[in-house]
């Protein structure tokens, strides 16, 4: 009706033509949009704008917070004592050269070599002993994938029939490998023993603690032995990984609770490293009671049962002794980064202050008279 209706007589009556009859009131009400804040895009809102003036204080604040944090981190990192020694045996003058050169998978007796070193400073508190590998691609996709978490969690079905991810380390001679996969197969099996050599030549072995090196959740939840009171029975239908010298249930002869899949050395190794140069926690040297430093300065000897070949892929092996603070091991990067970013922020704050002073006032004063 509204399209073209027109009352011929209406204007005669003195109605204004503009207000001539248009539709009923019904359609108006039904089509009229709701006048709500959301539908009219008028929701109350905070409307921040990043200008030099508003950002400026934030920059100064960031600068003022970051620089002290950075200094704190840097100082903490510098206070950490770390000692690192390479025992790969790649160079002819190195003590492990013979072992490294004569390495054979078939030899039944391990090759031993001893590296002597001196700690210039005493190491206090708990000391963490790491082994480090270089050029070892634990993060290679084929390698990372090559494990069976179900098997490691004690699943008996997976123990019999490991996942195909473990190929080519899945079965050996028809029997399932436990633990299967490339990671487990290449378990780091050098044995490191540390002795303190006193000035008179006698050496005292230092007690190395084997527990507490793996994540608590890994040790207690993620890794489980297959059911059965006797481990050797539980693993009876499986074979050890080809490169292992001992089956999985005999990994730690000294502590029966540290055998099978819950062996902490195995658990540590199974957590694949992010980068090709990495270190893994090997042992903990607990703090001695009293005021004696854990490792006093002096001479030490490191006796290595050299079982692990790395020269074939140009790898290196290291032993690291480190103290630890609340922020972990020695890592100056974080402190330096904080100081740098803090200084940049502070500097930018000053730049913005100048800009704001020179241009900010100009633009706002130019606009206001309008």
């Amino acid at each position: 009706m509204m399209a073209s209706s027109y009352n011929a007589k209406e204007e005669v009556d003195g109605h204004h033509p503009g207000s001539s009859n248009h539709g009923g009131t019904g359609p108006i009400n039904s089509k009229k949009p709701d006048n709500t804040a959301f539908k009219q895009q008028r929701l109350p809102a905070w409307q921040p704008i990043l200008t030099a003036g508003t950002v400026l204080p934030a920059f100064f604040v960031i600068g003022l917070i970051f620089i002290p944090i950075g200094i704190g981190l840097y100082v903490t990192s510098n206070n950490i004592k770390e000692f690192e020694i390479d025992y790969t045996g790649a160079e002819p003058n190195s003590p492990c050269y013979v072992c490294a050169q004569n390495f054979s998978w078939n030899s039944t007796t391990p090759c031993f070599c001893t590296v002597n070193f001196t700690l210039q400073q005493p190491f206090e508190n708990n000391i963490y002993m790491y082994y480090g590998l270089s050029n070892f691609y634990q993060n290679h996709r084929r390698y990372v994938k090559s494990r069976d978490d179900k098997q490691l969690n004690g699943d008996s079905k997976a123990l019999e029939e490991p996942s195909s991810d473990c190929e080519p380390y899945r079965k050996s001679g028809g029997a399932p490998v436990a633990p299967c996969g490339a990671i487990a197969n290449s378990l780091f099996n050098d044995t490191l023993d540390l002795s303190y050599v006193e000035t008179n030549g006698t050496s005292t072995p230092i007690e190395l603690q084997k527990s507490g090196i793996a994540w608590w959740t890994d040790k207690h939840v993620k890794f489980k032995n297959p059911p059965g009171s006797n481990l050797s029975v539980a693993f009876q239908n499986t074979v050890k990984p080809v490169n292992w010298r001992r089956p999985v249930y005999e990994l730690d002869p000294s502590n029966p609770d540290n055998n099978g899949f819950i062996n902490e050395d195995l658990i540590v190794w199974m957590r694949t490293a992010a980068l090709p140069t990495f270190r893994k926690l090997y042992r903990i040297i607990p703090k001695k009671s009293g005021a004696v430093s854990t490792l006093p300065s002096g001479s030490y000897s490191l006796r290595i049962a050299y079982n692990y070949p790395v020269l074939s892929f140009d790898g290196r092996k290291r032993m690291i002794l480190s103290t630890i603070s609340w922020m972990g091991g020695k890592n100056p990067f974080l402190g330096i980064a904080y100081i740098t970013v803090g200084s940049i922020c502070f500097f930018l704050g000053i730049v913005l202050l100048i800009i704001n002073h020179k241009y900010g006032n100009r633009s706002s004063s130019a606009e206001i008279p309008n």
């Binding site: 073209s4 209406e10 996709r141 978490d149 490339a182 939840v221």
Partner: protein
């Protein structure tokens, strides 16, 4: 209305008139009675039943058909291929990572389409099962609509909707007419009259109707609602009588019977062949500029992706040339892998890298963009300010694909009548032989006889002149297609009751005619009604005069005139013709042409719409000839339109000029304000009208398209008659270019008022000459270029005397000119449809000339003034939102994938993914999807009021400025920077050290989780920094999705998930959070990532602020620091002393 009408088809058919008009014919046997033997043998065709199928799928074919349709889209197909590759080869990431998002996207789309189809099924069923009354064997029986067949005689009562396309046989009215409203088809709610076949209109009962023995020959169905040709052969006494059928006999499915008790009609087109169903088809396929740049970026990213994969594959083979690296003792290949050929291995590696990096092409971007457009378009619907109280209408969105294009418009092409003006006509004056009559009816409502109420320029006319005057009034009263609507309803008060009579008012599809008839009423001649093909007029002496209507030569926009042939009571036959001056004057042989012409021109300058009226006395022989001509043309099945036009051309000649009328069409409310705003926003406004130059230019001045200081350049037939087109064009271009040569760009910003700009007026004929292709070889191309050059330098262009197709041609010419500007066409009538479809954005106005423009438009608004908010506010917002959406999507996926690329250099190019599968899968689906979607729905960088108040802000986003390559590169560079900071930050933190206080080490998954945590926080904070409008929803979604990430990570690593065959994420996130340095580095890395962007923003704002930023800052100053203003005003006052 729920259906989309194809206009492409009508457009095509319009182009092909003549060749395609007559496709094929069909023969319909009424009541399925065979024609008597001996008549022409027809081949009985098979017709579909009357089932309407608007649904696309059936229950069975839904899944395959829907999948097929979805995977035809390139993006979906790409992800399907990635998914299949993941299934086939040994890939770094599980197929779930791409399968799940793809599945999600496909499922959401399928559910949406399935639901829509279910609704269509339901609607179809309702329609197909509704009862229809059919005459069978002399009785009315009821059957389901879908069982109706061609040839059935249908019985329809008042207010019922026609079940299929029908030919009217008879109606309850004696004259065999019926009234129909086609509101649901084309939105015209006026009652239209349809006619029964003359020979069958007497059959009024079911028995009689079923005795009709006839066949109908007609064309096969075509989609044009207003075209139909056919012929009915009635066999009475076995003597076939042929009668023509036209669109006036055809009742369309979907239309409703009104004011008529019942009708009988025969079905000729059923089911999917009805004109309504043929008009169901698809919408226009317009793509926005943003979509185009999005696709360009996609190609760039695809190239990046492929080159990354190639680089990594090459490096991988270089790296592992050493067998000890390739296969060290601890990491051997399986035998099967070793056997594989090196080329196959290399190819699989390439594919694996592709899979690893495929997330750089954001799978969810398409879904998000589509959702943003669909949901965002509701804000147009909901806008209170675009609701028109008077019409009771609000804005309509026919396609949401073009929302952001509204913010990019450079050229606005507008129709004049009904768009700029109200199309609410008021009779102003008429001029008979130079005497001017102005009705003063408004003064006292009484029409007084005599010259008191009529101003005349000349002295009182003599008796001869008085005859001519009355002839003129009669001509205007008779020469029209106005109907009288007798209002019998109770709301008589509303419409007014006059002198005891029931109220009545005039209805017509043309408001001009109503105004004229109504104006005649005020001058003493009242058109009463049409009855039994007689028109009744109440003359000045309150006597009823009756004229028999013999023929109506209806109006069309090509002839621009209409005629009626009537026989008056004395027996004389007159032809009255009414039309545009240009189409009447050449056909006039006598009359006071000069006086009338002068008056017409005078009125046109005033901005009035003028029509000329002429007549011709027909002698009985002449009348016979006319009848012959017309009936022959009308009976033609082929080319009927052309033949009719020729016949009309022969009939409407040798006219005697009577006079002219002038009708005022007032400007729409705020039209001038809107045009001014569009100008300030940097848009060029062109008015394209069929009106004459003087009228149109007056409207242009009134609507401030031309201002007083506008220098008008004319390119009209008048000028080209004096000079050659060539010279005129060169003259004009010299004028324009000389002027612009001496001006800097600064002044063109429109800030200074004394600045002269140019306005161009061109008419249809000259335009044809300018655009005429290659007559003089290279020269003609120059004309077009030259013309475009002139146009570019004019702020306003007026094109008058335009045919509908010429409008589209102009739009196309500008569209394809070398800058490829974005065009918008706005109009209200059927003659604007072609330009609405041609332009990038077509806007329909809900005017008085039906709904064709609205139907064919992309958006429809009630009034022209709403265009301002539509473009300046909605368009601006949508553009800002979508461009941020697109840029942000690419950015966040670069940041996501680039660290993974870097990681390949540290893992021996082994395609080891950096992040866990869950993170890879959910990053785009849930961790970072909602904030950007919400941003793209409700971001407002500036308040809507300011956008409206300051149209020049629109220039800030012109030319797709936020999606320029430079800003794309900035975003990508920012993404790469962030990725490098994140990756190497984590790298140096992890470098050969521990960062827990118990000495334990972290593995590669912690490394990835650390990077991922920084990533999620950085991209979310980046968006937060870009958000200028923080409602509670923004807070909820941004902080909520960060919280969701943390909670999810805690859960994901919190337990041993039995359905997973790996537990690599177990406690990784918790362990990471338990370490102090991890927290510190997360904070540090996020800060470092965000720093450059903040600095860039702040410095750019301070040193090179855009207008938008200036206003933002200014508003902030005004809001937060009133004291500053106070101080400043104090200083300034002190300075002035």
């Amino acid at each position: 209305m729920g259906m989309d009408f194809s206009t492409l088809r009508t457009l095509i058919s319009r182009y092909c008139v003549g060749e395609e008009n007559w496709v094929d014919s069909r023969t319909v046997y009424i009541s399925h009675k065979e024609p008597p033997p001996g008549t022409e043998a027809f081949i009985q065709q098979r017709f579909p039943d009357n089932r309407i199928v608007s649904s696309k799928y059936t229950f069975w074919n839904f899944i395959p058909k829907n999948m097929f349709e979805q995977f035809r889209r390139v993006a979906n197909f790409y992800f399907l291929v990635i998914f299949l590759v993941q299934l086939i080869i040994d890939t770094p990431t599980s197929p779930i990572t791409s399968g799940l998002p793809l599945f999600f996207v496909i499922t959401v789309t399928a559910i949406k389409q399935g639901y829509e189809d279910w609704l269509r099924h339901k609607a179809d069923n309702a329609v197909n099962k509704c009862p229809v009354h059919v005459v069978q064997d002399g009785k009315v029986t009821c059957k389901q609509s879908r069982k109706l067949r061609v040839g059935d005689v249908v019985f329809v009562t008042e207010d019922e909707t026609f079940p299929c396309d029908l030919i009217l046989l008879s109606s309850s009215r004696d004259d065999g007419t019926c009234f129909v409203t086609t509101a649901s088809l084309d939105g015209e709610s006026s009652h239209k009259t349809y006619y029964a076949v003359q020979d069958t209109k007497a059959y009024k009962t079911e028995e009689e109707v079923s005795s009709i023995h006839a066949t109908i020959e007609c064309e096969q169905p075509q989609s044009d609602l207003y075209k139909f040709v056919g012929r009915i052969n009635i066999y009475m006494n076995n003597e076939p009588v042929a009668r023509p059928l036209g669109s006036e006999n055809l009742l369309l499915r979907g239309a409703t019977l009104k004011n008529t008790e019942y009708i009988y009609a025969v079905a000729i087109y059923t089911g999917m062949e009805t004109k309504m169903a043929l008009n169901y088809q698809s919408k226009s396929q317009k793509r926005s500029a943003v979509e185009k740049s999005m696709n360009d970026y996609l190609v760039v990213y695809l190239c990046i992706l492929i080159s990354k994969a190639i680089i990594n594959t090459a490096l991988k083979y270089v790296w592992q040339a050493d067998p000890n690296r390739d296969e060290p003792w601890h990491n051997e290949r399986t035998e099967a892998e070793r056997q594989r050929h090196i080329l196959i291995r290399a190819f699989t590696d390439f594919l694996a890298f592709m899979v690893l990096f495929n997330y750089i092409i954001p799978v969810s971007m398409y879904v998000t963009v589509e959702m943003q457009k669909f949901l965002g378009s509701y804000f147009i619907l909901w806008d209170d300010e675009m609701f028109d109280e008077e019409l009771g209408e609000r804005a309509v969105v026919n396609t949401s694909d073009l929302n952001e294009e509204l913010g990019q418009v450079e050229y606005v092409f507008t129709d004049k009548t009904g768009t700029l003006t109200e199309n609410n006509m008021e009779f102003i004056e008429c001029c008979v032989d130079g005497h001017v009559y102005v009705p003063h009816a408004i003064c006292n409502g009484q029409v007084m006889p005599g010259s008191d109420t009529i101003d005349m320029i000349d002295t009182s006319p003599g008796p001869d002149a008085r005859d001519r005057e009355e002839l003129f009034f009669r001509a205007v009263c008779l020469c029209h297609t106005v109907q009288v609507k007798e209002e019998e309803t109770v709301d008589g008060i509303k419409h007014g009751i006059h002198q005891g009579k029931s109220s009545s008012f005039y209805i017509s599809s043309s408001p001009d005619e109503v105004a004229l008839v109504e104006g005649m009423n005020r001058l003493g001649f009242t058109y009463l009604r049409q009855k039994d093909s007689h028109m009744e007029i109440l003359n000045r002496d309150d006597k009823v005069e009756r004229f028999e209507v013999l023929e109506v030569l209806s109006f069309d926009s090509v002839r621009r005139r209409m005629s009626v042939i009537v026989r008056c009571s004395t027996g004389e036959v007159y032809l009255f013709c009414k039309g545009a001056d240009s189409s009447i004057f050449p056909r006039v042989i006598s009359g006071k042409v000069d006086q009338v012409k002068a008056r017409v021109e005078h009125n046109a300058v005033e901005g009035l719409r003028t029509l000329c009226v002429a007549y011709r006395c027909l002698s009985p022989e002449q009348y016979q000839e006319v009848c012959h001509l017309l009936s022959r043309a009308k009976l033609a099945l082929q080319d009927r339109d052309r033949q009719l036009a020729e016949a009309y051309d022969l009939i409407e000649k040798d006219l005697i000029l009577l006079g002219a009328t002038a009708v005022e069409d007032r400007l729409q409310e705020k039209a001038a304000d809107t045009i001014e705003s569009l100008h300030k926003a940097g848009m060029k406004v062109w008015v394209l009208t069929g009106d004459k130059m003087e009228t149109a230019s007056a409207t242009c001045y009134a609507s401030k398209l031309f201002r007083r200081n506008t220098q008008i350049l004319e390119l009209t037939t008048k000028r080209t008659e004096e000079q050659s087109l060539h010279d005129v064009l060169f003259d004009l271009s010299r004028t324009v270019l000389r002027h612009y040569g001496g001006m800097t760009r600064e002044t063109s910003s429109g800030l200074s008022d004394d600045y002269t700009d140019f306005g161009l007026i061109i008419d249809g004929a000259t335009l044809t000459a300018v655009m005429r292709p290659g007559q003089e070889g290279s020269n003609s191309g120059n004309y077009k270029e030259l013309f475009l050059d002139i146009c570019r330098n004019c702020s306003a262009v007026l094109c008058c005397r335009m045919a509908p197709l010429q409008k589209a041609q102009i739009v196309k010419m500008i569209k394809t000119s070398k800058e490829h500007p974005i065009t918008l066409a706005i109009g209200d009538g059927a003659n604007d449809v072609s330009m609405i479809q041609e332009a990038h954005v077509g806007i329909g106005i809900m005017g008085k000339e039906g709904r064709q423009a609205v139907r064919n438009s992309d958006y429809a608004i009630p009034k022209f003034k709403h265009l301002k908010k539509m473009l300046l506010v909605h368009g601006h917002y949508y553009y800002i939102r979508v461009s941020e959406l697109v840029q942000y999507f690419f950015y966040k996926n670069v940041v996501f994938i680039f660290p993974q690329f870097l990681y390949q250099f540290f893992c021996g190019f082994s395609q080891q993914p950096l992040y866990d599968t869950a993170y890879l899968t959910l990053y785009n689906i849930s961790f970072t999807s909602l904030p950007i979607l919400l941003y793209s729905l409700i971001e407002q960088h500036i308040n809507a009021d300011i956008l409206k108040k300051d149209p020049s802000l629109y220039k800030d986003i012109a030319k797709n400025s936020l999606l320029k390559w430079s800003s794309f590169i900035y975003w990508t560079a920012l993404g790469i920077y962030d990725a490098i900071v994140m990756f190497f930050g984590a790298y140096f933190l992890f470098d050969n050290t521990t960062f827990t206080s118990n000495g334990q080490m972290f593995g590669n998954w912690t490394f990835g989780t650390l990077v991922f945590t920084v990533l999620v926080f950085t991209v979310t904070f980046k968006l937060a920094l870009d958000t200028h409008y923080w409602t509670w929803i923004n807070h909820f979604v941004i902080w909520g999705s960060l919280l969701f990430f943390v909670v999810f990570s805690l859960l994901w690593g919190g337990i041993i998930w039995p359905f997973l065959n790996y537990q690599r994420m177990y406690y990784v996130f918790m362990q990471m959070l338990s370490s102090g340095p991890a927290w510190l580095s997360i904070i540090l890395l996020i800060t470092t990532c965000l720093l450059p962007d903040v600095v860039k923003k702040v410095i750019c704002r301070a040193l090179w602020p855009t207008t938008t930023e200036r206003i933002q800052t200014k508003r902030r100053c005004l809001a937060s620091e009133p004291s500053t203003i106070f101080m400043l005003s104090q200083t300034s006052s002190r300075m002035s002393f």
